[in-house]
C-alpha cells in the first residue's frame, strides 16, 4: 500500500499514461459541461474583467461579442474556463507539494523576461485569432473532427521550427 502510494504520488508518471488520462478527463469534461477542455478564452475573460475594472467596457466587435462563450449567470471572473484554469494551477501546486518539491523559482536574467513577455504576447494574440491554443484548437479541436484543429496543429509546428531557430540563436 505504502509502495503504491510512493509510485503514484512521488515518482513521475510515464508520458503515455498521462496522455490517456488527459484524454479521459477531456471527454468527461465534454460530457459533464458540454464543452471540451479550453484555456485561452479564460485568459481573455480575465483580461476583459480587468478592463472593466479600469472602466473600459466598449466590447463592440470583440471576440466575446461575436462568439460569446459565457452562459447566463457567468461573469468574466466566474465561468467554466476560468474555474478550470485556476484548478489546473491548483492541481499542479498540489502535485509539487505532495512530492515536497515546491520552491519559488526566481527569474534568472532580463533576457528570460524579454523572451517570456514576447512569447506570451504572441501566444495570446495567435490563440485568439486562430480560435484556440494548443488545448482548445489542437488537443480538443482535432478529436472533434474540426479541420481547423489540424491546420492549427500544422501551423503550430511551423511556428515551433521558427521558434526553435530563434531560441538556439539567441538563448544558448
Amino acid at each position: 500500500m505504502n509502495k503504491l502510494y510512493e509510485i503514484v504520488l512521488k515518482t513521475p508518471w510515464p508520458y503515455w499514461i498521462a496522455g490517456i488520462i488527459l484524454s479521459l478527463l477531456n471527454i468527461f469534461l465534454l460530457i459533464t459541461t458540454g464543452s471540451p477542455w479550453r484555456v485561452t478564452s479564460g485568459f481573455l475573460y480575465w483580461g476583459m474583467g480587468f478592463l472593466e475594472k479600469l472602466g473600459y467596457s466598449d466590447f463592440t466587435g470583440s471576440y466575446i461579442e461575436l462568439y460569446g462563450g459565457l452562459t447566463a449567470g457567468e461573469t468574466f471572473l466566474l465561468n467554466t474556463v476560468s474555474i478550470l484554469n485556476v484548478a489546473v494551477i491548483a492541481g499542479a501546486l498540489l502535485s509539487v507539494l505532495i512530492s515536497n518539491e515546491f520552491k519559488w523559482k526566481k527569474i534568472k536574467n532580463a533576457k528570460q523576461v524579454a523572451f517570456g513577455i514576447t512569447g506570451g504576447l504572441l501566444m495570446g494574440y495567435g490563440a485568439i485569432i486562430a480560435f484556440g491554443c494548443n488545448i482548445g484548437a489542437f488537443f480538443s479541436g482535432i478529436p472533434s473532427f474540426s479541420l481547423h484543429g489540424w491546420v492549427f496543429g500544422g501551423s503550430m509546428v511551423v511556428g515551433g521550427v521558427i521558434g526553435s531557430k530563434i531560441l538556439m540563436r539567441y538563448m544558448v
Binding site: I98, T118, I129, F131
Partner: protein
Amino acid sequence: MTSERIEALKRRRKEEREVIKSTNQSPHAWILLVIILMVSMALFLNQSFYMWIFPIGILLGFTLERSRFCFTASIRNPLTIGTTKLLQAVILALMVSTVFFFILQVQTLDVGNFQLSEVPGNLRPLGWNTVIGGVLFGVGMIIAGGCASGTLVRVGEGFTLQIVVLVAFIAGAILAGVFHYPFWYDLFIEGREAIYLPEIFGFIPALLLQLAVLGILYVAARSFAKRKKI
C-alpha cells in the same frame, strides 16, 4: 573544548532537522486539499455542474505536473534534441480522444440530419487566421518555454517567470480579442464556417482516416527518433 564541540554538533543536528522539517510539504498539501474541497462545494452551490469542473481541472493539472507532460516540449524536443517520446504520447492521446469524441458525437447526433451547432466538441471556422494564429502561437510557446496549459502548470510549480508569461498572454489575448478583432474578423473570419470532417467523408470514413493519419504520424515520429540516435 569537547563540550563546545558537542554543543556545536547538537546545534548542527538541530539545524539539519529543521531543514528536513521545512522540506516536508505534506501539511501544506493537506491544507490545499481542504481548500480545494471547500471551493468545489462553494462552486457546486453556485451552479451544480461547476462541481465537476474544479475537480477535473485539479486532476488535469496534477496529471500534467506529475508526468511532466508538455505540449511545447513535444514539438521542441524532436527539433532540438531528437527525442520523440513525448510527441508519441501526444499523438496517442489524440487517437484515444478521437475514439471517445467519435462515440459521443455519433450517440448525440442524428447522423443523417444534423446542424453543425449541435455537434459536441470544439468546431471552429477555418481560414488564413488559423494559419497565422497557429504560427504566432508556435513561435510564442517555444520562446516563452511553455504553452497555454504549460504556463498554468509552471505557475503552480512556483516559476516566477511564468507569472510574467501569463500576464503577457492575457495582454496578447485582449489585444487580439478586443482591440484588433474587427480587423481579423472582416479580413478572414466573417461568413466562414467550421469544416466538420464527417460531413465531408461520412462518419466511419472520417474516423478511420483520422486514426490512419495519426497512426502514420506516430510511426514516423518513432522512426525519426531511431534515425537521430544512429
